[in-house]
């Protein structure tokens, strides 16, 4: 037995001697799942373009040019010699590509903020409810039940109607309806982990409650949660698009993907490009997030780690 182990250790050592740089090691995580790699790269690209929008966008997204309105996609330079409107112009003569690039900023930051804040609050409440049980659990989970029993979009719409539209209010509104899922997920995960021998062993060696909760339980239940984070981000980007489409989200002249579809829908028969391109980019982003989410779930299973 001990001979075999020694051999195993030697093999491992010789393997790790073949030095790999950080990038190669990172790529290794994607082995056997090239689709996820493509999705991941696209996602990074979309995020990077959104962040660096002012340097990339060829036109001001808010400045129209009434002469140039509703021009179809073209590779020809406009009369004033600027960058060609490759995705056309909208009803006010604004460059669709530039609006798309700036719109990504809003969609991404709303989606990310909601998931980050909602995820943290929800996960924390779920952890506490699951670990302590009893009255704590009862009260937290009843609040979650009540919050979940209202139709989400309706609550968000009402909230924005009362407080007025805008990115900040939209984020808060989506937060109000988007934190419960994490609490439910975290609680159900903790309930199983709480009864495990691992937790019992941690108590036996004298670990404090926060240490058990955050050092042992959380890292072991985080992978389904991370998957939920990524998938919820897709959900929140769609929700932002819905709200903006209905006119309760981002207000013109600012730009967001949902708003572009909302504004352009009257022209869909005559100027399809105003609606189709934002629609495509929403679908692409959500699809990429879903693919990456699935990959994360597989990758974070510790028993699969080091098995490729």
């Amino acid at each position: 037995m001990s001979n075999n182990t020694q051999q195993g250790i030697d093999e491992k050592n010789s393997k790790s001697e073949v030095k790999k740089n950080a990038f190669q090691r990172f790529l290794q995580h994607f082995s056997g799942n090239s689709l996820a790699l493509v999705a991941f790269i696209l996602l990074i690209l979309i995020i990077a373009i959104s962040i660096f929008a002012p340097f990339i966008a060829p036109y001001d997204p808010a400045k129209g040019n009434i002469v140039n309105r509703l021009k179809p996609p073209t590779l020809e330079r406009p009369a004033d010699g600027g960058f060609p409107h490759i995705l056309g112009t909208d009803q006010q003569g604004r460059d669709v590509l530039s609006r798309l690039i700036y719109g990504g900023r809003v969609s991404m930051s709303v989606g990310f903020t909601v998931v980050a804040i909602g995820g943290t609050i929800g996960t924390l409440l779920g952890l506490i409810a699951g670990y302590f049980g009893g009255w704590t659990d009862l009260i937290i989970m009843r609040i979650v039940d009540v919050a979940s029993s209202f139709p989400g979009l309706l609550i968000a719409l009402t909230f924005v109607m009362v407080l007025g539209p805008g990115q900040a209010n939209l984020t808060i509104a989506l937060l109000l309806v988007g934190w419960m899922i994490y609490a439910r997920m975290a609680r159900s995960q903790v309930l199983t982990a709480r009864e495990s021998t691992m937790v019992e062993a941690s108590r036996a060696i004298g670990c404090s409650m926060p240490r058990i909760l955050f050092n042992h339980i959380l890292p072991n239940v985080i992978s389904p949660l991370i998957t939920t984070f990524v998938l919820e981000m897709a959900h929140m980007i769609s929700a932002e698009a819905n709200m903006s489409f209905l006119g309760y989200g981002i207000q013109p002249p600012a730009s967001s993907w949902g708003l572009m579809i909302g504004e352009g829908r009257q022209y869909i028969t005559s100027a399809w490009w105003i609606v189709v391109f934002p629609g495509l980019i929403i679908a692409l982003t959500v699809l990429c997030l879903n693919l990456v989410g699935n990959w994360v779930r597989e990758e974070f299973d510790p028993l699969q780690k080091g098995r490729h």
């Binding site: 001990s2 182990t5 250790i9 060696i205 670990c207």
Partner: protein, 332 residues
């Protein structure tokens, strides 16, 4: 600790009932009598073997003794202090002195941590060592249980079952405890490594002057390791005493049944084997009489209605049986 009291642990009338919730509002409808009025003492440096079949409550006793679960009633006196008395309860001090070895070591590990983190965690939590000193102590502990220090960077799922159990033992010994509950430490292991772990436990006891509560369903293993034996059946102790004495003069039909259940190497002897008939009674609201009564072929009318108390039949040898039973022949 007074000198005339060399009991490291005294268990007095320990009771643990688990509620079975079935009512509309979740109120308990019945109770599982997992541990029912169990008392025993363990002397410093000695081993008490707690033996019984699956589900008899022996693991629950192990958990209660370490205060990993709270009892329904009863006392556990550890180093002359009742661990259930909140006045005397010092969690860290107790955890340093009393440790547990689990049946399934792997499930007791945080699988995201490597061996070094697992074995070193007790030292870190109790602020005994950190950094380089911690690493050295972990290496020493691994050597103590016969593992190579190189294993420290491995993750538990890459180890063999024997190595996993050794890592578990190393973690239990990290705080230099005086008392260790070994909960079926070899049951999940391959036959080939069982002897190795048993001998390791025995060597460590000698080296570190450990006191064991050794829990097992295998009476032969218990006999090999223990100074005292306590036989448990459906939440109650039926026979206790010095290991040699209990083996030579079995006074309870259940102890006899446990012994005859041990596989016999000689095929010619197998014909004489008696297999217990009937089912183990449910520990949910058990009947008032002797709990072994439905399966006991020596049972008399009294056994059905009255519960036999533990009575000292010879010095240190207690048995709870109305029948004057004596084991037939020496088997081991």
């Amino acid at each position: 600790m007074t000198e005339n009291n060399d009991n490291i642990i005294e268990v007095k009338n320990l009771v643990k009932y688990f509620p079975l919730r079935g009512g509309l509002l979740g109120q308990p409808t019945s109770w599982v009598h997992a541990v029912d009025d169990v008392s025993f003492n363990i002397k410093r440096g000695q081993t008490l073997g707690l033996v019984g079949e699956s589900g008899c409550g022996k693991t629950t006793v192990g958990r209660l003794v370490l205060k990993l679960i709270e009892p329904t009633s009863g006392e556990v006196i550890f180093n002359s202090k009742n661990i259930y008395d909140e006045k005397f309860w010092k969690e860290k001090e107790f955890r340093r002195n009393a440790q547990i070895i689990f049946q399934d070591a792997f499930s007791s590990f945080d699988i995201r941590k490597n061996v070094e983190n697992i074995v070193g965690e007790p030292l870190l939590v109790h602020g005994i060592a950190q950094g380089k000193e911690l690493k050295e102590k972990v290496d020493d502990l691994l050597k103590l249980v016969g593992l190579k220090p190189e294993i420290a960077k491995e993750y538990p799922h890459t180890l063999s079952s024997g190595q996993k159990q050794c890592v578990g033992i190393a973690r239990s010994l990290a705080l230099n405890p005086t008392f260790v509950v070994a909960d079926e430490p070899i049951s999940a292991l391959d036959v080939s490594v069982r002897a190795q772990i048993l001998n390791l436990l025995k060597d460590l006891q000698k080296k570190l002057n450990l006191t064991y509560l050794f829990i097992s369903h295998d009476i032969r293993v218990v006999y090999y390791l223990s100074d005292y034996i306590a036989v448990m059946y459906v939440g109650k102790l039926v026979e206790t005493g010095p290991a040699e004495e209990v083996f030579a003069h079995r006074l309870h039909p259940y102890t006899e049944a446990l012994l005859t259940a041990v596989p016999i190497e000689d095929p010619k002897m197998r014909a004489s084997k008696e297999i217990l008939q009937g089912e183990v009674p449910s520990p949910v609201d058990p009947p008032p009489g002797c709990r072994f009564y439905p399966r006991c072929k020596y049972a008399i009318a009294k056994c059905k209605d009255e519960n036999p108390e533990l009575i000292e039949k010879s010095p240190g040898h207690f048995v709870s049986c109305f029948v004057d039973f004596h084991g037939s022949k020496t088997i081991i």
